[in-house]
């Protein structure tokens, strides 16, 4: 499966006296970094797409189909959070297996896929460990392994690597970029660091004050001089 397109048309959402309004068109297979100052609505954008927040109006189209009425589990989406991606009381094999069956009913083929996923993220042999017995980077690798077995065409990353050191973060970005290149997913990644966007993302969208300011190829976006908000954000 290759990635799917994502389109938000006039998606509105309000919380207390704060509101957002998104219009955005992401082509299949893009790796989009989502940047912008805090309060710009980066996490809200991902929560809306994943179904953890309900827009008050507008449409969210994944692969041309409006998913607004669907609960999170029925959307073709996997989201990685900053933390709590794993159940701390279950070993990571069980955590990954939950991505296939919430009742943990696994076929032999399922088990093979899980083994392959652990292989792919470099955690072979650690399947029976609990999250507490792993490093922060290993925990996020396990979460990525679950994203692999879930095999959803749209991957949302809500700063899952923000707590990692620079070298480890780059490793994780490279891993995600590889998985993306292998043709499996369209990716949306929230980040606080423009370096992350430059390293991994084909495209970058800049959000400010609850709306999309610009979506362009990463290099082109960072080269733009006409956006006052972007200049203020980057501080350059």
């Amino acid at each position: 499966m290759s990635g799917v397109g994502l389109k938000l048309s006039d998606v509105r959402f309000a919380y207390a006296d704060w509101q957002v309004q998104f219009d955005m068109d992401v082509a299949p297979g893009w790796f989009v970094a989502v940047i912008g100052p805090s309060g710009a609505g980066k996490s809200t954008l991902l929560n809306l797409v994943a179904g953890f927040e309900q827009p008050s109006s507008g449409a969210i189209l994944i692969d041309g189909e409006d998913v607004c009425a669907l609960p999170p589990a029925r959307r073709p989406v996997t989201m990685l959070f900053q933390d709590h991606n794993l159940f701390a009381h279950l070993d990571i094999h069980t955590n990954v297996a939950l991505g296939i069956s919430p009742a943990l009913k696994l076929t032999a083929a399922d088990r093979d896929r899980i083994t392959a996923a652990f292989d792919r993220v470099g955690l072979s042999g650690l399947e029976r460990r609990r999250p507490g017995e792993l490093s922060g980077g290993q925990r996020q690798r396990a979460a990525i392994a679950r994203a692999l077995v879930r095999d959803k065409p749209l991957l949302l990353l809500d700063e899952p690597f923000a707590a990692l050191g620079p070298a480890l973060k780059n490793d994780m970005l490279d891993l995600v970029a590889e998985i993306h290149r292998e043709g499996h997913m369209t990716v949306l990644m929230v980040s606080h660091d423009p370096q992350d966007a430059r390293r991994a993302a084909s495209h970058t969208v800049f959000l400010d004050e609850g709306g999309v300011v610009a979506l362009d190829q990463t290099k082109a976006l960072f080269a733009r001089k006409d956006l006052a908000g972007l200049k203020a954000y980057l501080g350059a």
């Binding site: 589990a73 959070f81 709590h84 919430p102």
Partner: protein, 535 residues
């Protein structure tokens, strides 16, 4: 709405229906009895009634002033001296009085301050007349201060602990003397905390039953709660009991409303950031005297409970069938009450969780759970019991239905506390795992089995133990409904105490204490996820 939500809302609705039925049933019975006949107006003009009300408020006010008044210097001394050996143990001991069954505490107070107790013995040796009489107002005050001085100390200390480190650094930079620190830092913090602490203590003393029943009870030292009990058990005067119960209800309601939300900002929170060294700590002798006196005041009755129990004839008690019968009765009553309480709480919390997920307006269940929880705090168990006593009187033999009433009332009594243990745990678990469960389609039985049960095991065990301990130590409803055929451990203890078989009482008190504290200790050891892991 999906199947899971329907299930959750159904369970929550059923829980609410049961809780409201029990409360409303008692209330309706009280009002209807009061409305029938010309009884209440006659009772209202009875000077006895107003004497009881006056004494209730008077003893509560004195207890509050003494408890909180002494707690201020004690909390300040504890806040100033953070390093001394035994500080942690002492503060842990300060949490003990409230966890002990009130009857056990009364016994300890009598051992220390009673006519033949340690204090009067010491006075005699020193050549004074044994002057202190523990039965009456002075005994009630001693017991209430024993309960509430440590409580108030811990509450105030928690507030002092929350003073930001920067304030202390600033104070030492400005070279503030102790008086200035008191004026500009300590007193403002304490002043803000005093109304909350005082209103909580006042409320606890107004609704205090066991202490007043055992140490007071005469015409000059009876509170409303004890008067309700006496009206029902001795004078068979339901109209007076109802009038008293309604008065108590009004009184408690007024207190709760005027105190704001008594469940508000009361819990100790760990202070954030590093603690700064203080430069204003001259004169350690004063602090040592304050801490020493407060420590002795709390410690001595605790020691007395143990020593008198050791002296008592435990071997003879052990062959008494009455004791084993009482232990057995207490156990199944407490287990049933705790189980009922947990089931009600589970219903409420699952509905709250489901309604939060759909976040539409002010969630109905959250509001109702809050109100039911605080209403139970306002409605003393003895009033609840009195209502059902009056209601069931018409239906049949009260004493055959007694166990059921005791179980239900005990379950409701424990509800606010169990909600306080489980509510935050469920909310935190939902915060940690809610989105993940939603995205993995983990719901219903699978979620219960794989996520909720393992994560909530520990708070569940703690809640169960709390509810059981509360029921096992309770002498409120059982005093109304107990009989020869239905005797719990506190009821038996009260009978022995009332007939001055103090040795038996001391032995039973030890058993009761070990039982209650053992339950809590056991729950504390339940294996569970202690490590906080971010996955």
């Amino acid at each position: 709405m999906n199947r899971e939500s329907i299930f959750a809302f159904g369970g929550g609705g059923l829980s609410l229906a049961i809780i409201w039925t029990v409360i409303a049933g008692a209330f309706a019975a009280l009002v209807m009895t009061a409305a029938g006949g010309e009884g209440p107006s006659a009772t209202l003009s009875d000077p006895y009634l107003w004497r009881v009300v006056r004494f209730t408020l008077w003893q509560a006010a004195l207890s509050t002033i003494l408890s909180v008044g002494f707690a201020v210097p004690v909390a300040r001394a504890f806040a100033r001296r953070r390093g001394f050996a035994g500080r942690r143990v002492l503060l842990a001991l300060f949490a003990l009085p409230l966890a002990l069954p009130a009857l056990v505490v009364v016994l300890g107070v009598v051992e220390v301050w009673g006519r033949t107790g340690w204090f009067n013995g010491l006075a005699e040796v020193a050549g004074f007349e044994p002057a202190l009489n523990v039965y009456g107002l002075s005994g009630i005050l001693l017991a209430h201060v024993f309960f509430n001085l440590p409580l108030a100390t811990r509450l105030l200390l928690a507030h002092l602990d929350r003073v930001p480190a920067e304030n202390w650094r600033l104070a030492s930079q400005l070279d503030m003397p102790a008086t200035a620190v008191w004026r500009f830092i300590e007193w403002p913090v304490l002043k803000a905390a005093l109304p909350g602490a005082a209103s909580l203590v006042f409320m606890l003393c107004v609704t205090s039953f066991t202490v007043v029943l055992t140490l007071g009870g005469g015409p000059r030292a009876t509170t409303i709660e004890v008067a309700i009990y006496q009206a029902l058990r001795f004078d068979f005067d339901p109209v007076r009991a109802v009038t008293l119960a309604l008065l108590q209800l009004v009184l408690c309601g007024v207190l709760v409303i005027s105190a704001g939300r008594i469940t508000g900002d009361m819990q100790a929170q760990p202070s954030l950031g590093k603690r700064a060294a203080r430069a204003d700590l001259d004169g350690w002798i004063g602090d040592a005297v304050v801490i020493g006196l407060a420590g002795l005041f709390v410690l001595l009755p605790l020691v007395a409970i143990v020593t008198s129990a050791v002296r008592s004839d435990l071997a003879r008690l052990a062959v008494e069938t009455a004791m084993w019968q009482a232990i057995f009765t207490s156990t199944w009553v407490a287990l049933s009450a705790a189980a009922l309480c947990l089931i009600l709480t589970a219903g409420l919390l699952s509905a709250v969780r489901a309604s939060q997920r759909r976040h539409a307006g002010k969630p109905f269940f959250e509001w109702n759970t809050d109100v039911a929880g605080s209403l139970i705090l306002v409605m003393p168990p003895i009033v609840l019991g009195a209502g059902w006593f009056v209601l069931l009187r018409g239906v049949g033999d009260i004493f055959t239905l007694a166990p059921l009433v005791v179980i239900i009332v005990n379950a409701l009594m424990a509800l606010p506390f169990v909600l306080r243990v489980l509510g935050p745990a469920v909310a935190q678990a939902n915060l940690d795992h809610g989105r993940l469960c939603a995205s993995l389609d983990l719901a219903g039985w699978n979620r219960l089995r794989l996520v909720d049960w393992p994560v909530l095991q520990r708070p569940l065990a703690l809640a169960l133990a709390f509810a059981m301990a509360l029921s096992i130590g309770d002498l409120g409803v059982i005093a109304l409904f107990g009989s020869e055929d239905f005797t719990t451990l506190p009821f038996l203890l009260y009978q022995r105490f009332g007939t001055y078989r103090i040795d038996d009482a001391a032995g039973l008190a030890l058993i009761l204490t070990v039982y209650c504290l053992g339950l809590i200790a056991l729950a504390d050891r339940v294996r569970g996820e202690r490590r906080k892991v971010t996955g």
